[in-house]
Symmetry: none
Subunit: 142 residues, 4 copies
């Protein structure tokens, strides 16, 4: 039998709050999603003014980060033309995303969930996702 660790709703909303604080400082409203260790949605917040277009993208970034067990931006290089995973974005009905803004949440080496952020530029999304992941690390993973 396996025992799995997974993010709970209190932690998830706490991480969303941390992401929101960073997005507010930046003046960029964001869609923020948290998925669990199985890639399933736990919590979601669309800050007022965030793009409807990016709702599913935020969720997809979190899904891909939890699933690949790495930041979505770090999946990207292997999918470039000439690289072995070229074209991988077409997998999983488009849920294999390499857009920056998805980061796994890790405790003792185990991915217990992930955060996905989308509505700004990819750089802004990544910055907010990093703030969320850093908060998680400091609060729940030491």
């Amino acid at each position: 039998m396996l025992t799995k660790l997974s993010i709970d709703i209190t932690q998830a909303e706490d991480v969303i709050a941390a992401a929101t604080r960073r997005a507010t400082e930046m003046g960029v409203p964001q869609n923020i999603a948290i998925v669990d260790d199985a890639g399933h949605l736990v919590a979601f917040r669309r800050m007022d003014g965030a793009k409807f277009f990016s709702i599913d993208i935020a969720i997809t970034k979190a899904f891909a980060a939890a699933g690949a067990r790495k930041a979505t931006k770090d999946i990207g290089p292997a999918t470039q033309p000439g690289a072995p995973a070229f074209g991988a974005q077409a997998l999983l009905n488009g849920r294999f995303t390499t857009l920056p803004g998805g980061i796994p949440l890790v405790v003792n080496g185990a991915v217990i969930g992930a955060v996905g952020v989308s509505s700004g530029s990819v750089g802004e999304d990544q910055t907010v996702a990093e703030a969320a992941a850093d908060y998680f690390l400091q609060t729940y993973a030491h």
Copy 2:
């Protein structure tokens, strides 16, 4: 130009909190989704222990209630065998749901969003959705 009213994130999370209180009283963890007037997700909470199977169902119930401008349970009768809308559940790639648990949030006759609840029995889901809609009505729509 049209002017539309839509639920904001503060209201959405406030309604989710009301739904959570009712679900907690009942001892049934729930997935709770809020969509805006256009059917787009605004906020989502999966209470610890709620079924992953019901995540998308909760979101779909909210979508259908906002879209049909009526409680999902009230769409159902017209889709029964012999009734004119029989088979309508196959529409919209399965987003035309008549499962109880989706209720529009209305201000002065305008649907500004909807709540969807799923993880318990359909009766439990409906009870929690009603608690959420009642809370919204008393808090924001008078």
Copy 3:
């Protein structure tokens, strides 16, 4: 080689105008779609206030009426429990609809397109679709 007759854009928008007049008389804003003989969209109008939920349903009704070469409401009986086409609504990724409100547009026995109407009750949708089809018959098919 086959020669096909198909509705043109002038006729399509003329039929939409007729449907709009009827819907306006009834006080029920509607989504109104016209497809051609091949089931492809030619023209679409969402009257202000019509449900976003019913956009694709209107298009689907027109598609099904053109495809089945009969009014969608007349496809329904054969799909009832116990009837031979039971469950047919699941075909074609949900585009096999039997909801009232789709009617073929016919010239000399040939289906050259269809109208689909959705946003009101199924009775209201059917009434507007009939007004559209009647207008077409009187204007273009004698």
Copy 4:
């Protein structure tokens, strides 16, 4: 509560007429779609002779322009090989398009809808979309 502005049907068909005039001058029949601020279809015209293949592409271009709040052609560069959003076209079940021909319609900084044009070359599509957006700007946004 949020207040949103959205294009109405009169404006939408007016913009389609402007696009049609430009397409007619160019001798290239087009599919022309208008979506609202939430990405939902408001009006659509397929000029006689426009490709059936491009119906959904026109609608998708409008959806993406409204959603991303920028012209679809301006989303493209970040998705090129080596750029951070490479592969983004696989997102949203293919509704994340970067094909030129989609432009948001903006009033006082708010995206109230978008136009999408498809059936010609991408250059022709873009030219017609620009004519539509320019018309909107001069007529409704000053």
